[in-house]
Amino acid sequence: MKKAQSLLIRFSQVALVLLGATFLVSILIRQLPGDVSLLINPVASEAERASLRHELGLDRNYFSAYWMWLSRMFQGDFGFFIFGGKVLPVLKTAIPPTLQLIFYTQIVALTVAVPLGVTSAYKQGTRFDRFTSTTLFSLSSIPNFGIGLILSLIIGVKIGILPPSGYKPISEGLIDHFRLMVLPVLTLAIAPISTYTRLLRAEMIGALREDYVLLALSKGLSDRRILLRHVLRPSCTTLMTSAALSMGGLIGGALVIEIIFVIPGMGTQLAKAIGMREFLAIQTYVAFIALFYITFNSIIDVLIGVVDPRTRSRRA
C-alpha cells in the first residue's frame, strides 16, 4: 500500500517535471524573432499567413498553444517539417542509433569501471591504483569531440583497422554494425569510465572500513567474496545514481559524437534542423530527449530502491 503510494507520488513528480520541461521548450520556440509563417511560405497572402499562424497555434496564448501541441503529440502527430514531410518518420530512424550509442556506452563503461574500481579500492595506494587514477583523470579531461576526432583519424584513417565513420543498423549485419560502433562508443565511454571508477573506488574504500566487513572477515570468508558480495553491493547504489546523472552528459556527448562519426541519429537531426531552421522539429526533438532522460532517471530511482533496502525503509 505504502509502496504504491510512494510510486504514485514519484510518478506525479516525474509527470510534473516532464510537463514543465516541454512547456519550457514550447515557450522558448515562441520567442523566435520574426514571423515564422513567412518562413514557411514567404509569398503567402495575409489570409494564408493567418491560417498558418492558426495552424501553428501562434495566435493563441502560451497555455492553449502548449495544450494544442501536447494533445497533438498524444494523438501521434509529432509535427511537420517546414520544408515538407512529417517529423515522426525521421524520429523513428534517428532514435535507434542514438539509443544504441548511449546504451552500448553505458554497458562498456560499467564493464570496464566496475573491475577497475574494485581493484583500485582493494589495492588502494599501490602503483596500480595511482596509475589507474592518473590515467583516467587525464583521459577524462580530453574533450570527447577531441577524442572522437583523434580516434577516427588514427585508428580509422591512419591504421585503418576500423571504419572511421558511418552507421549501419543491426538489420544490415551485426558485425558491420558493431565495427562501426566501436570508435564512437569508445570515445563516449571514457568520461563515464573515469567517473564510475573514481566513485566506486571512493565508495568501496569507505565501505571497506565498515564493521560489517570485519564481521565478514571474521567469518573466514575470502577477500574476493567479501569484496564482491559484501562491499560491492552497497556501493552499487552510488554507481547507479551516478549512471543516471551521467546520462545527461552522455546524451549531449552522443549528439556531438554522432556529428563526428556521421551517425544519422538525433544529434545529426538536430544539427540538420538548426541548419534548415526547422524549429517545430527542434521542439519535438528536445521534448523527446527530455522524455528519455527523465524516464531513465526514474527507472534508475526505482531500481535503487530494489537494490538497497536502506532507501526503501527510509521512504516508508
Binding site: L214, L217, S218, K219, G220, P309
Partner: protein
C-alpha cells in the same frame, strides 16, 4: 587444563603521520579451553586492538610483534590466507555495534548461511535449517521471518543476537566479544550477557569479553585483566580482583561506577586527566600522572609486572594493601 590461546610479548603499533603509535605493549596472556576472561580498560587503552590483533583482523598499517599461539600452533607469523582458516571455525568475534556490524543491504538469512556454506561446506538447505536453529537458539522470535529481513528492520538487541548467532555458527572454540553490550539498551544488556554465558557453557567455548565496564565482567568471567595504555596493569581471578585489588587504576575504575548504596547527591568519582599520548611513552609508570598515590619513583621508573603466590599480577610500586 590445556591452553587454547597464548600471547607472549605481544605488541601492536600503528604507523601514523605523528610517528609510531604503540597501541598494545608487551602483553603476555594465556587462556585455557573453556575459560572466560574479561579485559577491562578505558576507551583507548588498547583492549579492542588487542582482541582484533590476536585474531589477525588488522589493517596493513599495523605491525604486530611477539607470538600468538592458537591451540599450540604459532599463528602470528602465518599469512592472512592461512590465519583465515581459523576464523569462524576456530575463533570468532562479536562486535561492539550491531547497527554497523551487519551488512545493511543483505538479508539476515544470507549473511548467516554464508559462513555455513563457505566454511562448513553445507548445502543450501542444510545451511538454512541450521540457521533457523541458530536463530532459535539466540531466542529470535519467528526465525523464519527474521531470515528474510534486512538488518535495518530489526532492533539493536535483535541484531546483536544475530551477530552472536553468526559468530557461533561454525562452533568456534574461542569467542571474542568486543564490548558486546555497550551499544545496547540497559534492559537488553543483561539478556545478551546471559545468552553469551549460556552459549559458552553449551559449546564449551573459551571467551574473551572486552569491556570498559567492571560490572559486566563481574558475573561473567573467571579471570579479569585490566589494561592501561596498551599494557596489562593488573590480572587476577575475578573474585580475587574484586576483593583484593592492587592497582590504584583498578580502584579508580571501581570508584567511578555509580552505586546504588551511595546516598544521593554524592559526587561521582572520576579519574582526572587523560590517557597518555600513545606516540610518546611516559618515562615512568604510565598511570602516574593521574594517580593519587604517585611518587617521584613512579614518574621516573617503570614498574615491572609483579606476580604474587596466588597468581595475582599487578604493575605498581605501591600496590593498595601493600606488597606481599
Amino acid at each position: 587444563m590445556s591452553e587454547i590461546l597464548k600471547l607472549s610479548d605481544f605488541s601492536v603499533s600503528f604507523d601514523t603521520p605523528r610517528g609510531d603509535l604503540h597501541a598494545v605493549r608487551g602483553v603476555d596472556l594465556s587462556i585455557a579451553k573453556g575459560e572466560s576472561i574479561g579485559i577491562v580498560g578505558e576507551s583507548g587503552s588498547g583492549k579492542t586492538v588487542l582482541s582484533r590483533a590476536t585474531m589477525g583482523l588488522m589493517p596493513s598499517t599495523a605491525t604486530c610483534t611477539g607470538t600468538v599461539e592458537f591451540k599450540g600452533a604459532v599463528i602470528s607469523n602465518l599469512s592472512r590466507a592461512e590465519v583465515r582458516k581459523n576464523w569462524g571455525t576456530g575463533m570468532a568475534m562479536v562486535f561492539q555495534d550491531p547497527m554497523t556490524s551487519l551488512n545493511p543491504v543483505r538479508r539476515i538469512g544470507s549473511q548467516l548461511m554464508e559462513a555455513l556454506i563457505v566454511r562448513l561446506g553445507m548445502s543450501k538447505d542444510q545451511a538454512r535449517a541450521r540457521s533457523v536453529e541458530l536463530l532459535e537458539r539466540v531466542r529470535i522470535p519467528d526465525p523464519y521471518a527474521a531470515m528474510k529481513k534486512y538488518p535495518g528492520e530489526l532492533s539493536g538487541g535483535m541484531r546483536q543476537r544475530i551477530v552472536i548467532a553468526i559468530a557461533i555458527a561454525c562452533t568456534p572454540e574461542l569467542l571474542f566479544a568486543d564490548e558486546p553490550t555497550t551499544a545496547l539498551d540497559v534492559t537488553v544488556q543483561a539478556q545478551v550477557l546471559e545468552l553469551l554465558a549460556e552459549l559458552r557453557q553449551e559449546f564449551n567455548m573459551a571467551m574473551i569479553l572486552v569491556t570498559h565496564d567492571l560490572g559486566v565482567v563481574a558475573g561473567q568471567t573467571d579471570r579479569v585483566i585490566v589494561m592501561y595504555a596498551g599494557q596489562i596493569v593488573e590480572a587476577a581471578s575475578t573474585t580475587d580482583l574484586f576483593r583484593n585489588m592492587k592497582m590504584p587504576y583498578t580502584e579508580a575504575l571501581m570508584k567511578s561506577i555509580p552505586r546504588m548504596d551511595q546516598s544521593s547527591g554524592q559526587r561521582l568519582r572520576v579519574i582526572t586527566g587523560r590517557l597518555p599520548d600513545p606516540t610518546t611513552p611516559e618515562p615512568g609508570c604510565s598511570f602516574a600522572p593521574r594517580c593519587e598515590y604517585a611518587t617521584d619513583k613512579c614518574r621516573t621508573e617503570k614498574p615491572p609486572l609483579v606476580t604474587t603466590q596466588t597468581g595475582h599480577q599487578y604493575r605498581c610500586f605501591f600496590p593498595i594493601g601493600g606488597s606481599l
